[in-house]
Symmetry: C2
Subunit: 596 residues, 2 copies
């Protein structure tokens, strides 16, 4: 079955929760109002639904293949990428100065969700290209920007990120790839990079590798890492493509999912050195990466939302068609479509509530990014930037963790058919499984949340958000009805749990780092649950006010918010109990490794 | 990496929790004491570790294949099955009268766990054969038993269960396969059966299909279903193999996992009718199935324990070897093995706590079955039978649900390597995914728990168990220490939640079946969490008493119990909140299907 982008839902979130009207008042975004958003979303939905979605199962069935140092992409992908580029879809969020459309991130986020939902393996290629563009915008010279950005933004060339090495995954301090200076200011790059997404393929004329490496006299550890542009084909001064550079794809991985997306092992410098150019200042490579990393991590979080929605759509479609068993309430004597069975409703409700909550939080996070970049007042920019940075690890960690559960429920709704590959539910379950791993595992996100995002500012941003949640709890109190009662009760409890845990983290992170970091992922999940619950509460308030405008849409939104309050928010208390009772000097944390 | 059966842990559970010494006092089980258990387990561990475990990845890489109506099993499987049969491993729990070893189910359970952990796709074949043996023992004629049982118990022939049809999965009332009587008392079977595990293969000389079908004058629905033996090859009166029967494998499925295990579509009667014999009385097929179903569902629950343990072992092994990042507490300036990182401990702790809790509950359930079958007093037999039947859907549902989470954590511990198929973690994630589906989905187990196991006896058995938990809570109060404090607090809370929910179910199942059944899976999970927590509490008490005998083993057990109390038991409250607040006439349950 195909993918139908939930445009109405997306526009609801953009308007009612992410504040697209406010964003349209920012300098340079004057045209980006709700009408523009709708027009862009409709076009994007059309392209994604018609061109990319049908290729998703094909790409899984016929993965990209490695033949003699080259990668042949899955059938139809090359043509689809051409259409993608010609449609201008690579350019959505990039500056007009390099032929981009310069749309707000909040609108770009909706487009990106569609891309990933329709074909995640495909969408990884433009996603990585976005990363390369960001890196060059942040740190490239004018000449580098002039040469590379128009090609990348036009979708003529694609980009990659080369961080990981066999011994250096989460721990980039262990990077060994070497960059030896040449007399002409370029460098010769030597080393092996692994897990390079779309690191080799046949969809574009050139591939622009951004590579982390060390110069000979660089300090040890993360402070000695620099960033280099290493194109697959050399680029002449006029921007035209030159000879082949000394970077070779030596193999691609046999993966659990996202099989159309080639994951390359790249060998640099086997024939004298791959020629690279330094990007930005020497030894500042990791800092540039960190600037981009928020965008990249956010994008992966969005993949979680996307695949969750795709899995949900497939499950709903099956549940409407599959007839099995009589209703438990005895209202019919014949078997009925399983969508009417209470447990199927519970499963679909769980999938939907988690997905909508995560979508709302992601779009709101994107809106903070827009405000951080364009707000005329610097105080406001800093405020939004801080919130954006606080939310990114949560969007990344929580949306991806839940996407695995949602995809798994999607299999379950299908019963035995879910286990048969042809049905498609299993592909989502396999594809989703990468999301909690790449661009920083959930533990890495949680470390970031504890260290840089909570402890560093003494919980300032965390507590600002907790205060805002309290205001929403108050607002819920002014409304009657079971959905409001349940949401008020459970959001209030969730808010208290979050506050308790933030205080626990602040109080103990110095003295008992092991205990606190053993609770870091539970803290991230708790934050995800409460912040998404908060967005669902805001959605509930908005929906209640507009119920008469579109009763079917808004009553479904209210039901989903109620479900979130009943089934998801109560988990906050359980996480609080685990986090606050964990101490670094006891239990599982002090066993020796042979006791495992 | 290979599989090492956790013999010490298994014996601890058998002795301290399942009461193997008491079982050895039952008539016919006099030899089945702890020493026998140890001897059997050591032999089983050897066979499983050496012969089956190494084939597990092979079977995944080279699935069984369908060629011209026949199935070629994965490389090495045929030879392994021969060894399995010759070692007498099919005969463990079956009667001595048919050349079985007649060991208690509690010991057989440990052996079965090893089989499934070492190679689940392989072990499915003997598991289904066990089912066929049970069916014939329950309902076969003396002649049927005499002909089929020795062959099946010797592992010369294998057995299958043919229930599902394209339109009849969870809902067996929809079965259409037809059985037309012949003059000689046999039947001609016509129909299509799907999802037949090991329904066709080359590992044994004959395959004994047990098939649900309807005779021409049978009542509609489940009351018109009869059970038939339909061997792949006819069997002569002397037990020798005759000509080919009219049952053909027309295809096997392309599945997410357990790829070595062929899942067949069987076509009966394309050439005039497959000859079958009635088993037991006409129209009682489903009743016989229900008798066997407890055993089959229990066995699948055990697969959950098994694959969880295998995934845990693999993750521990990787975590010991993989060096990455410095410790968060600053105790070293170099990168360390990731097993020392707090979040990896949390993941391994979660995997271990869930697995040990599920193992304990499964073995205790098996012990109740032993008591139910052999206790000299009928009152005691009924008591144990009732508890056994109550626990089966929980062992099936909860152990399998957690096995997916555990296998997923196993991938996560591996980071990027977990997503590469060669590592093996992904296979467990794929294999485990079937467990919540076959032999009745988790929803089917939960319906059973609500309807037949809780409501039917007015909560009698449920409340008996709740009282026993209360006694354990009391016992915990007599001990000092953080593990005891945490366990007492959270088990007491879990016990209260379980009681509240049981009362909620009893009070509302008649009036609001939709609301109650929307909470049925959460109820099953709650029961699983609390009952496994109870077993971990009993393990904690036992371990504390024996700590000095083997300090490293018992301190690990205490740490695991503490972890369970902190991280798993608190989830009970969240489930209680979801269950008790769900009503059938509101929210997600009253949306129309187009609103999804």
């Amino acid at each position: 079955m195909s993918y139908v982008a939930p445009i109405k839902e997306m526009l609801f979130v953009l308007k009612e929760l992410a504040g697209i009207d406010e964003i349209a008042r920012l300098p340079g975004f004057e045209d980006a109002d709700a009408d523009t958003a709708r027009a862009v979303l409709v076009e994007s939905a059309k392209f994604c639904g018609e061109v990319l979605a049908p290729l998703n199962a094909e790409g899984d069935k016929y993965p990209s293949v490695f033949i003699d140092g080259q990668v042949r992409s899955s059938p139809g992908f090359k043509e689809a990428f051409r259409e993608f580029a010609e449609g201008g879809w690579q350019s959505v969020q990039h500056p007009t100065g390099y032929d981009g459309q310069d749309l707000p991130k909040s609108i770009g986020t909706a487009c990106a969700e569609m891309l990933h939902a329709s074909n995640m393996a495909f969408a990884l290629c433009p996603m990585l290209t976005d990363g390369a563009i960001e890196a060059l915008l942040v740190a490239g010279t004018d000449q580098q920007k002039k040469i590379y950005l128009p090609k990348l933004i036009a979708g003529e060339w694609t980009g990659t990120m080369n961080l990981t090495e066999p011994q250096a995954g989460s721990d980039l301090a262990l990077i060994r790839t070497r960059a030896d200076p040449n007399d002409d200011g370029t460098y010769r790059i030597f080393g092996t990079k692994i897990f390079i997404t779309w690191g080799e393929h046949d969809m574009a004329d050139n591939i622009v590798h951004l590579v982390l490496a060390r110069t000979p006299d660089a300090p040890e550890g993360v402070k000695g890492i620099s960033l280099f542009i290493v194109p697959k084909y050399h680029v002449n001064a006029d921007g035209s493509k030159g000879a082949r550079n000394d970077v070779q794809c030596v193999s691609i991985e046999h993966k659990l999912g996202i099989k159309a997306s080639p994951t390359a092992v790249l060998q640099f410098g086997d024939r004298g050195g791959a020629i690279g150019e330094l990007v930005g200042e020497m030894n500042r490579g990791l800092q540039y990466m960190f600037i981009m990393m928020n965008a990249a991590r956010f994008a992966v979080g969005l993949q979680g939302v996307a695949i969750a929605d795709r899995a949900y759509q497939l499950a709903v479609s099956y549940a409407r068609e599959r007839v099995q068993s009589r209703p438990v309430d005895g209202t019919a004597s014949e078997a009925i479509a399983i969508i009417h069975h209470p447990d199927v409703r519970r499963m679909l409700g769980t999938m939907r509530a988690l997905t909508e909550g995560a979508r709302a939080l992601a779009y709101v996070t994107a809106a903070h990014c827009d405000m951080a970049q364009r707000h005329p007042e610097s105080v406001a920019r800093l405020h939004h930037q801080a919130i954006y940075e606080f939310l990114v690890p949560i969007v990344k960690g929580w949306s991806t963790e839940l996407s695995i559960d949602v995809a798994s429920l999607g299999v379950q709704v299908h019963g035995g058919m879910g286990y048969i590959e042809e049905t498609g539910a299993a592909q989502h379950y396999r594809d989703a499984r990468i999301l909690t791993i790449y661009e920083g595992t959930t533990a890495i996100q949680a470390n970031d949340l504890v260290g840089r995002k909570t402890a560093r500012d003494g919980g300032l941003v965390a507590k600002k958000l907790i205060q805002e949640i309290a205001l929403t709890v108050e607002a819920l109190g002014s409304q009657d009805g079971v959905a409001f009662d349940l949401m008020r009760r459970h959001l209030a409890q969730g808010q208290r749990s979050l506050e308790t845990v933030v205080n626990h983290v602040l109080a103990n992170v110095q003295e008992d780092p092991n205990g606190v970091f053993a609770g870091s992922v539970p803290y991230l999940k708790l934050a995800g649950i409460v912040l998404c619950g908060w967005q669902m509460a805001r959605a509930l308030l908005a929906a209640a006010g507009k119920r008469n405008e579109d009763p079917r849409f808004y009553s479904a939104k209210i039901a989903t918010a109620q479900f979130f309050a009943q089934h998801v928010l109560p988990q906050a208390v359980a996480l609080e109990a685990a986090i606050t009772s964990t101490k670094g000097d006891e239990g599982m944390l002090v066993l020796d490794e042979a006791q495992f």
